[in-house]
Subunit: 325 residues, 2 copies
Amino acid sequence: MAALADVSISTASKALNGSGRMSEETRERVKKVALEVGFRPNALARGLITKRSFTIGLLTNDTYGRFTLPVMAGISEELVGHGVSVFLCAIEDDPERARVHVDAMLDKSVDGIIASGKRLDRQLPVDLSGLPVPVVYAFTKGAADGVTLRSDDEQGARLAARCLIDAGCQRIVHVTGPKTFQSVRERADAYRTAIDGPPEVLHGIWAEAWGHEAVAQLWDRGGEKPDGIFCGNDQIARGVVDGLRERGVRVPEDVAVVGFDNWEIVAAQTRPPLTTVDMNLRTLGREAGRLILAMSEGREVQSGIRKLPCSLVVRQSCRGAEAPA
Amino acid sequence: MAALADVSISTASKALNGSGRMSEETRERVKKVALEVGFRPNALARGLITKRSFTIGLLTNDTYGRFTLPVMAGISEELVGHGVSVFLCAIEDDPERARVHVDAMLDKSVDGIIASGKRLDRQLPVDLSGLPVPVVYAFTKGAADGVTLRSDDEQGARLAARCLIDAGCQRIVHVTGPKTFQSVRERADAYRTAIDGPPEVLHGIWAEAWGHEAVAQLWDRGGEKPDGIFCGNDQIARGVVDGLRERGVRVPEDVAVVGFDNWEIVAAQTRPPLTTVDMNLRTLGREAGRLILAMSEGREVQSGIRKLPCSLVVRQSCRGAEAPA
DNA sequence: TGTCGATGAGAAAACCTTTTCTCTTAGACC
DNA sequence: GGTCTAAGAGAAAAGGTTTTCTCATCGACA
């Protein structure tokens, strides 16, 4: 203990924590010695008495990490500066496993839990209400009286529609995922009210193959072809773009395409690279970190659902106002 | 404390931990009460005295999570049953951040650290030797005298080559990433010795575009065309398959293609879906968890590099012996 | 000179376990 | 009947901090 070099153990503690009363000279001396010997207080002992472990848990059922990873990065980014570490617990929709992880976290006295997932309209397979620690739901359905953070899918869809409209599209179709997803319905609704012409929504699965299929449906039938396609996610968009290219339809000259998710690996590798809506999950993660920190420090945080804005990442599949009509 | 219901605090502890001497009847009674009241020992207090926190740290510079996520899943899977939780620390090749995270972990008395990354021939930007806790390197370059786990890329490449040969390919080309990657060189070497005909290795970048480009190079020049292509990763393979399809070359009938990584999102969405080499990173993660657990319990673990075998995931781009020559 | 207040610093309790040591009791053996 | 041993269970220390309380000293004021 650094106290050996100077003073009593209690004075040392107070000096380092900026509490207690002592001469400025003593305080500085202790700090200096502590720095020299590289003294680092034991977090376990500290946590035992202060009831704060500087540790939070992140629970997620998004095994693939597509959504959780950016959220995680944001949380960690926000919290590492405060000395808070993050337990990552991947549960695969397995209530048993979820329970084990939650218990393990509680045993370790986490200061809070962030629940995250891959769908905004599904709860994790474990009840997190009534826990002795604060909980923040980030990109997953939360308890009614909980603190929930989610993307503003309607605003995101408006962004996409606006981009297509600005690019001069007259006839915009929406090719998206299963109607059972709430976010699909929200985006579709926003799309319907945002465009001028008659809306057309095609529901399918979240896969490239569905993008192809949708293009086939649209082009093989008679009548007017769309000149703008808003896709429910980047995988579908990629399928659509590939399908169009294979038919000799130019993107974005003949048909402009906008995706959703900004999943780099898909969006950036598509030919041409996709213009797409980014849900800013990293920012959402930061916000979740900020909130859980506040709550763990006892500050009041208003419960309810907070929608965080999406932004548009313009690549080449739709260039907005740049591209002449 | 559960002792209230029965006996002294020390007897209770001994009863629950299976230590000490007492009548079987007492032991059972304590256990029963503990279960009833849902008693869970405080991990902080326990860690303070036993010097084991049942916590390990996972350090990675693979922000995108392509490699780390499966490794992480494996580690977690292996350890959760032992009550061990995992701190995930994402550092982006930032030595400063790495240092902060390592310090935070040490403060929290982690029982061990697993270092992971995205390249087998690069160290993390922080020196983990001489730490007061055991370290296991998983899918990243480790210290010379450390315990390192990696995939057996040569064996994986042999698997790929064997699949193409079995499919009847006579002229197999290897389209891969930059020569600066050690794994690229290892795979290329294994490819060279595995095939019968004269080898041809094309180096480029890790992108779909390079796959296209390579096909263009191969097909636009005169002379004999390959009938089998072994790609350095799935992205390149996807580019190759797309390039071939656009030229009217059938996969796998005219040219069989094998990828590397088994990155579901790419491999399964390719048309046709890719046959590819899986590095079994989840298994590697499990093994890392097993080792760090052993080491943290004081068991001796032999240092050195352990290569874990890859396996072949057969989809449709190369059907091995099934496809007639 | 005596009392009061402020200031600086240490003693000790508390946090919640585990673990070692000690004590009591009962049974066995001579 | 006395001594020894083993069994069963509790007392207490230890682990490394934080925090409250107490104590000593000194200057000021009456």
